[in-house]
């Protein structure tokens, strides 16, 4: 039997595959690898009201690696922000679900992203604004490891610590791969936890494939970060949770045949049934 959070994560994976299947291609690898983090966030961590996506006192999430929108859309649909059927319109002409997150098109999406690095600053700006207004809402941010090659991420890291943003928790989806290959071969992050620590952030590093563990770690972080921004480094696998995709070396953007999607969906349903 799966825990409720693991079941939620599996459902998010199933719905993502439905999206890719309907469109025939997409950013599969990096969507799958943030799924367990999304399951924790939308499975109880975030203060939200799907019936009122623009509720002023909600927590916010910025998926800065905006190409992972399909994972976020699946989570939002499962939470009731919009019908599951809508997922089949991913990237169709005139859709509300574009390949990169768009706050003006999709209910529940808090920030427009897709130009890597920029979500880091907008999330930080939201945390700053909420703090300045005396609100107790929190801001969550998901960064890619390749994305952290952008200088903007590190400018934000300096700023967030300087401004003591204790309402701000970032995740690094440390799946070790980017578009062209392995982060180590291209421009290495080495030990990102140590880097953020030296920037005076509160830092945790855990395996990122267990939503229950992520959930716990977030609660613990909220308790202990005090007035520091927090970074939770998630050791993940690009394509995480779907063996066939994990094993595909260049799995950033993939064609998705109906056969492959159905095979994966069947596999995931079996996991749920134990």
């Amino acid at each position: 039997m799966l825990t409720p959070l693991k079941e939620f994560a599996t459902d998010i994976r199933i719905q993502q595959m439905e999206e890719f299947k309907a469109r025939g291609f997409g950013h599969v690898g990096g969507s799958l690898s943030i799924t367990d983090c999304l399951a924790a966030l939308y499975g109880g961590i975030m203060r939200i009201d799907p019936k009122n996506p623009n509720w002023e006192d909600r927590d916010r999430l910025v998926v800065s690696k905006g190409h992972s929108g399909p994972a976020l859309y699946a989570a939002l649909a499962l939470k009731g922000y919009f019908p599951l059927e809508t997922l089949k319109t991913l990237n169709q002409n005139g859709t509300t679900l574009p390949s990169h997150c768009d706050r003006n098109l999709t209910p529940g999406v808090d920030m427009t992203t897709g130009s890597l690095g920029q979500g880091a600053s907008t999330a930080c700006g939201m945390a700053l604004g909420l703090k300045l207004s005396g609100k107790d809402s929190r801001v969550y941010l998901i960064l890619g490891d390749g994305e952290c090659q952008e200088g903007q991420v590190w400018e934000m890291a300096l700023f967030a610590a300087q401004h003591k943003l204790g309402n701000f928790i970032a995740f690094l989806d440390y799946n070790k791969r980017q578009l062209d290959g392995y982060v180590t071969d291209i421009c290495d992050l080495e030990d990102p936890a140590a880097k953020f620590e030296s920037f005076n952030w509160y830092v945790k590093r855990i395996k990122g494939d267990d939503p229950d563990k992520i959930y716990e770690t977030i609660l613990e972080t909220q308790k202990n970060q005090k007035d520091r921004p927090a970074m939770i480094v998630l050791d993940t696998v690009k394509g995480g949770g779907v063996k066939q995709i994990e094993d595909t070396t260049l799995n950033h953007h993939l064609n998705m045949t109906t056969e492959l999607a159905d095979e994966i969906i069947k596999q995931l349903i079996k996991q749920k049934e134990g």
Partner: protein
């Protein structure tokens, strides 16, 4: 000399394949060539080159601003850098670095921006460059080129390798509609007359060249004789040809796969209004952001179809004195 082979068919090779082959050839022939990319080598047909030519191919990672600065520095010590990213990021994500560290500092760098305008299709609004021509035009002394097809890409890249200053090139990574024979030769700054005509002229670039040729065929059937000129060099503008055809036809249309603000149409209209005031109708994106969709769908949304060009030609003729 060039030869126009247009018949409405697509090229057999994708733009990215030809780009990758040409970059490889230049690297083999000229040890001073350095190719830089910001994690888009898989998208543009250059992946693997960094393994074969580690001293000439640099995979920088996702850091366009750093890449532009690096290119300026490489030029300053005698290298011939080519840097590539999507046209959206080539314009927006490193503009100050390109402006100062490359152009103002008088370094010689070729910037390649791929997926121009609606050809970025499913990548959507964040990735859909309608503004890059405007941005690069606004940099003093820059050269701005849009490759019309792969034959041009292969022929012009080696020419641009020796060009001083900042050169920006828009490049489609998909299969373009074939316009030129493979043995065509091109000269930056010299526009190509693809079709003569006496009632109106269309100055087009990039994706809109084939759409303008289609439009001219339709107009021909209606008895309207329309010239089509490929303005692949948007800056410096071939003012002699603009003037010649404005005088000859008295009705001018421009067509580009980008925002009309600051683009090819703005260049042509600006020049003509100061030399020989002539009605200029601009076909292009009317100050809008991008979105996801097929190029065909997006051409309809943004008014970039042959029918839009036909309508513009008729309007320009109706405005003739």
């Amino acid at each position: 000399m060039f030869k126009c082979i247009y018949n409405g068919e697509k090229e057999t090779k994708a733009g990215k394949t030809v780009f990758g082959e040409t970059i490889r050839k230049m690297i083999e022939e000229d040890p001073q060539v350095v190719y830089l990319d910001a994690d888009l080598m898989n998208s543009i047909g250059t992946s693997g080159l960094e393994k074969s030519f580690p001293n000439q191919v640099i995979e920088v990672g996702i850091q366009e601003a750093n890449m532009a600065g690096l290119s300026g520095g490489l030029s300053a010590v005698g290298k011939k850098p080519f840097m590539h990213t999507f046209a959206s990021f080539a314009g927006r994500r490193c503009y100050d670095q390109v402006f100062i560290s490359i152009a103002y500092a008088k370094n010689n760098v070729r910037v390649i921006g791929s997926d121009p305008g609606i050809t970025s299709a499913y990548n959507g609004g964040t990735h859909m460059p309608f503004e890059d021509i405007c941005l690069y035009r606004a940099i003093p002394h820059s050269t701005v080129i849009e490759f019309t097809d792969s034959a041009m890409t292969a022929a012009l890249l080696p020419v641009i390798k020796e060009r001083p200053g900042l050169t920006y090139c828009r490049l489609s990574r998909k299969n373009c509609i074939a316009i030129y024979s493979e043995d065509s030769v091109f000269e930056p700054g010299v526009a190509n007359i693809l079709r003569d005509g006496k009632d109106a002229v269309i100055f087009a670039c990039g994706y809109m060249v084939s759409e303008s040729l289609k439009a001219a065929e339709t107009l021909e059937k209606e008895g309207i004789s329309t010239a089509v000129v490929d303005m692949f060099t948007i800056k410096p503008l071939d003012t002699a040809k603009v003037l010649e055809f404005a005088e000859k036809t008295g009705a001018v249309v421009t067509a580009e796969n980008g925002n009309v603000v600051g683009g090819l149409g703005a260049a042509v209209a600006g020049f003509l209004s100061e030399t020989r005031p002539t009605p200029v109708i601009r076909v292009g994106v009317k100050d809008e952001f991008g979105q996801v969709g097929t190029p065909e769908y997006l051409a309809g949304v943004y008014g970039l179809t042959p029918a839009d060009v036909v309508a513009a030609v008729k309007k320009s003729i109706s405005l003739k004195k």
